[in-house]
């Protein structure tokens, strides 16, 4: 098994200490930090996403895999600062809409996006539209990802889109939405650019939105 495969396996199995050890060993053996992303971390999280989509993995397995991925990326990120070769896949501002405190799904989406190479600005829960606008401006975000779990707070996604438009930012940023009660057709009806049924779909949607921009 190559050292890349070893790291991949450790992440899929959710073994954070192993992921940390393999990463350190790889660096010791002279592997460049930037190589570990496309060869181990990103494919590992793609596999985790596939297993989640196919119902093989559930929330606990996804969370521990994401934790293991983080054990590796925590070591690598400081080493990558200023490295021209690794470009971020894009910056995503995410949060749960105003009035809503459900964040388990949003956290999983954020973790999956992060391990897919996106920069994440997580605004937390109960996020008012103004806060999204300010964050998009400050970080020059490519994508806004909003989550809602309540029938009564879903409408606040539209408020975010309207606020971005009012601030003149709507054509600089793509908006994607998700959460249990949200559907594809509802996303279209409020003028969102993308929808994702689960966290792995969220990654695909984010990638295609950034590519299309």
């Amino acid at each position: 098994m190559s050292i890349f495969d070893e790291l991949q396996q450790a992440i899929i199995d959710g073994k954070a200490p192993v992921a940390k050890e393999v990463t350190e060993r790889a660096l010791g053996e002279g592997v460049r930090p930037a190589e570990l992303f496309p060869n181990a971390i990103v494919p590992a999280m793609n596999e985790v996403g596939r297993r989640m989509r196919d119902c093989e993995f559930f929330i606990p397995e996804v969370l521990i895999a994401a934790r293991a991925a983080r054990a590796a990326t925590d070591i690598l990120r400081p080493l990558l600062v200023g490295d021209e070769e690794v470009r971020s896949a894009g910056t995503v501002v995410c949060g749960t809409v105003k009035g809503d405190l459900h964040d388990i799904g949003k956290n999983i989406v954020a973790m999956m996006l992060e391990s897919a190479g996106f920069q994440i600005v997580d605004l937390g829960v109960d996020v008012p539209p103004e806060k999204v606008v300010a964050a998009v401006r400050e970080h020059g975000a490519n994508v806004v990802a909003m989550s809602a779990l309540l029938t009564t707070t879903m409408v606040n996604m539209k408020a975010v889109i309207d606020a971005l438009a009012a601030a003149g930012l709507r054509d600089q940023v793509k908006v994607m939405v998700g959460g249990a009660p949200v559907t594809e057709s509802w996303a279209q009806s409020i003028g969102a650019d993308g929808y994702g049924k689960d966290a792995s779909a969220a990654v695909e949607t984010a990638r295609s939105l950034v590519a299309a921009a």
Binding site: C55, F58, P60, G99, I104, L150, T151, T152, T183, E184
Partner: protein, 512 residues
Amino acid sequence: MTEKKTHRIIVRPTGVELRAPAGASLRDLLFEQGVEFPCGGQGRCRGCRVRVLEGTAEANAAQRERLSPQELEDGWRLACQCSLGDDLVVELRQWDAAILVDDTPFHFEPRPGLGVAVDLGTTTLVAQLVNLSTGKVLAVRTALNAQARYGADIMSRLQFAAAEDGRATLERLIRRQIASLITHLMVSAKVSGDEIRDVVLVGNTVMHHLFCGIDVEPLSHYPFESNEIGLQTFRASELEWNLNKASTVRFLPCLGGFVGSDILAGILATKLAKSLENVGLMDLGTNGEIVVGNQSKLYCASTAAGPAFEGARISMGMRAATGAICQVQVEDERLVCQVLGNVAPQGVCGSGLVDAVAAGLEIEAIQSSGRLGNGAKEWTLAEPVVLTQNDIRELQLAKAAIAAGSRILLERLGTSLQDLKMLYLAGAFGNYIRRSSARRIGLIDLPIDKVTPAGNTALLGAKLALFSLDGEDGSYTELRCRIEHVPLNADQSFQDIFVEELAFPSSTHVRS
């Protein structure tokens, strides 16, 4: 003027025949037949599926998104999205369930006159007419909540209330429906409205507000707290109810958040607030209310379990009605399913689901992570009824919400589940669920002799309240001071505990 064409609809399995003009909505027609509309008819939840056996019903875009090509081909439609354009024969996916009433004997101080106790549930209503001098129940009446056509769960109801005239419509519907229930009670007991002195209603906070005409907007978003949760008193004449002019209608006070007077009534019925030792009460419905404590302090919360225990959002889930698998046992490594009405199995209800998963864990068809063995996508209980991987996930979410909610409340109380002297289960599901299975899946980790199915404690509590109205006005001020509502969404540890509780206990963990 051209007259509109009328069409005929035959409803299976009831055999009811209806006539309605072309263009009439199937929602209104079938609601009268007991079909429920979980998302309020927005085409989102698939809960209102019916099967068109004869005739054509157009499937619109919403239906094409929600139903698979195979389902559409087989005649499945979302009743909420169809209007009548042909003569139809439709088969209903749901039938109305038996509603739990109460006939528990109780102690009372006699008072003159008659009283009515009403359990105003989100889904169902039960009303009893009681002779206040003898304690005898003279008549009982049950119904599906007429508001339910505008959404099965409280959030959908709140969403409907937010629209123009929405709240007024819901208020009118429920006040009229209860008036008619009371009229039916009087007719069957052959008494006149003049003899009725008091009416006591109990229900969750949303039902309380919608009946009493209080703005529900604060309940629709964070922090989900209203400051008008107290006792509400009406003169029967104000409600235009045909009772004695002097009779009083009281909606008992709520406890905070969505935890309403049905739970206050449950506390009265199970005497939690009089217990020297730590005891608990659980209502395993969509909102999953939990109370734990003793005579000096009680904590309560609602845990948003979702409707899995009622068989909703389960692919072949159904209410506990004819054709539902209601019990599953393992005999010689094989599944033995019991079907309500002894007919061919058509689906699985909440208690059957819990049993099935417990059995699956036992024979290792399901792993403790919730994964089906051998990576299977579905598991056959009894042809043609299967559980899918996703169904098991839904049950995991619901049971984790309950288990996490109770752990947090018990921590507040400074104790653990194992140290409770007794846990009472309120409501229909609590009455039918097999306690050993609830334990096996980690929903309630208690030996069965420490769990008591307590029936419709809301109705019993409302009846008890009727007898106390001479000494007390129904506001329960002192008692409510001892009950603290804990908003779980403010609890930092919830997510970690919830995730921990998602897995099923491994078999070595469960002691028999």
